[in-house]
């Protein structure tokens, strides 16, 4: 099983003619793509972390009717074919989409802009983070935040000083997955944001463009993506965490006691 999962990854590397990696990085398109990717990824991940972390905390600590349904709905984008996701984004935020009129009124046109890239990446990547973050917060012994409150800490202080550091390992691992998924995102982005060099063409889109023409170059960029993703996954996992469990490494899909 492991062999089967690894072989294709390995094969990509064996396929790259030496030197192409550097060549790939020197072309103007690749440099533009790196810049676009860095920028949109940074914003998307910031959004995911800043909005997703409190949202996950609330979902993890509050019990309410329909909670399982809400968590399932959060997971839906995980299983959406990316192109369908892209159409969905257009249907929601496009000119003739659900929010089209409102957006037009405020003079905002989202498709084909970097905002669209950010939204597409956020849409496909955030469920990875949210799911892991909910699990990580659920794994925090609820007595610890409770203890903080009885010691006079406000809900905010409790969150920052207790819940956040204790869930840290799981949050990091979830974020790594979400980051990697965002970097590799293709289908929803091309549908919703298009692919314009220097504006919306991310690394994944650039790879695709190079496919037929410069297959080896595309492979080289693809390989780079794999290396970056793997490195991030691994590093985040090896960062020690202070979860109560006797884990010798942080968990990716952290312990969860609920849906």
């Amino acid at each position: 099983m492991l062999g089967f999962l690894l072989l294709p990854v390995l094969a990509i590397f064996l396929r790259i003619p030496p030197g192409d990696l550097l060549d790939g990085m020197r072309s103007e398109a690749a440099i533009d793509a790196v810049i676009v990717t860095a920028k949109t990824s940074a914003i998307a991940n910031l959004l995911i972390l800043l909005v997703g972390t409190p949202a996950a905390y609330l979902l993890a600590t509050r019990r309410f009717a329909g909670r399982t349904l809400v968590i399932t709905l959060i997971e839906l984008p995980l299983v959406l074919p990316p192109a369908v996701a892209g159409i969905g984004l257009l249907a929601a935020f496009g000119r003739f989409g659900l929010l089209g009129d409102q957006l037009t009124t405020v003079g905002l046109s989202i498709p084909f802009t970097q905002i669209a890239v950010v939204l597409a990446v956020t849409f496909v990547a955030s469920p990875f983070y949210l799911r892991a973050a909910i699990a990580a917060f659920e794994a925090v012994d609820p007595n610890l935040p409770a203890a903080a409150r009885t010691l006079g800490a406000s809900p905010a202080r409790t969150f920052f000083r207790i819940a956040l550091p204790l869930a840290g390992g799981g949050l990091g691992a979830g974020w790594a997955l979400s980051f990697a998924r965002g970097i590799g995102e293709f289908g929803a982005t091309i549908m919703f944001a298009g692919s314009l060099q220097g504006v919306t063409q991310t690394l994944s889109l650039a790879i695709y463009e190079q496919f037929d023409v410069e297959f080896d170059l595309a492979l080289a960029i693809g390989a780079e993506l794999v290396v970056v993703s793997a490195a991030i996954l691994l590093v985040v996992k090896l960062v020690p965490s202070w979860t109560r469990s006797s884990s010798d490494s942080t968990t990716l899909f952290a312990p969860s006691r609920s849906a």
């Binding site: 009885t150 010691l151 006079g152 202070w242």
Partner: protein, 346 residues
Amino acid sequence: MDTLFLGLDHPLRAFSLRVELEVGRETLALVGPSGAGKSSVLRTIAGLLRPAEGRVALGSEVWLDTRPETGHPISLPPERRSVGLVFQEYALFPHLSVEANVGFGGRARVAELLERFAISELARARPAELSGGERQRVALARALARDPAVLLLDEPLSALDAHTKANVRAELGELLRELELPTVLVTHDFEDAAALADRVGVIVDGRILQLGRSAELLAAPASGFVASFTGANLLPGRARAGLDGLTEVALDAGGTAYSVTAGTGRVGLAVYPWEVALSREVPSDSAVNHLHGSVTSLVSLGNRVRVRVGPVTAEVTTASAERLALREGELVVASFKATATRLVPL
């Protein structure tokens, strides 16, 4: 120092928790079986559980009132109630040092508290590196750092190894006496309750069954639970009025016993081990209850021996055990006076 008042009515999974308590400058122990609602009482006082209905007040300061006379319900969040809560498993912050744990609620008194609890040397250690007794001291120090007006302790001794428990209990007792705070202490050990508390409340299925000094509980257990909890033999049986104003109890385990307490129907006959005497033959003393049985176990505890005879345990001195040359399997007679028994509802 103000009196803590608590009244609450709250549906739990299997029953409703309905409790009223007033705790002055004393330690009140809450005892009871697992799931009886003991922790829930503490959580209500601390503000971690908001009951369906209830009132919590410290003197004139109202912390919770779901039906105040003046309009809107009051419910202060935990951080605005002056309580120190020591959690069942201590709930120390695993990512913070001992010092940071203690200082979490207030930096001012940290050094003094570390000193007071003899954990200054551990200031930089993480909770995972501490022994059970050390953890308990850190938890206490942390709870006291805010100078609480009420102290709540949830099974502070149950996480300790048996052999460290005695000393830690003594230390805790001294501390409580010194603090003179209204204190509610949850425990499942009668000896702990008796040692640490001025009054003991027995809570079963969300209701307080009996509340009083530990000696009162021992002298007149209100129920089978209280009796067996305080260490009595509890012999279930069926009671009816007998001769001489005595109640006659047909024991489930066989035989008949007599009690001075009145009662009919299904009852438990409670008798403490030290009220049970052992002999080879039926003695000619004033005891009217005689149970014949074989010795099933002999436990020597220093100057006393606990002897199990059929359904009852007797506690006799080592001297008399030796005199009788008791051995497992031998037939003996366990005798106890009708005046030494209590009939309790089961």
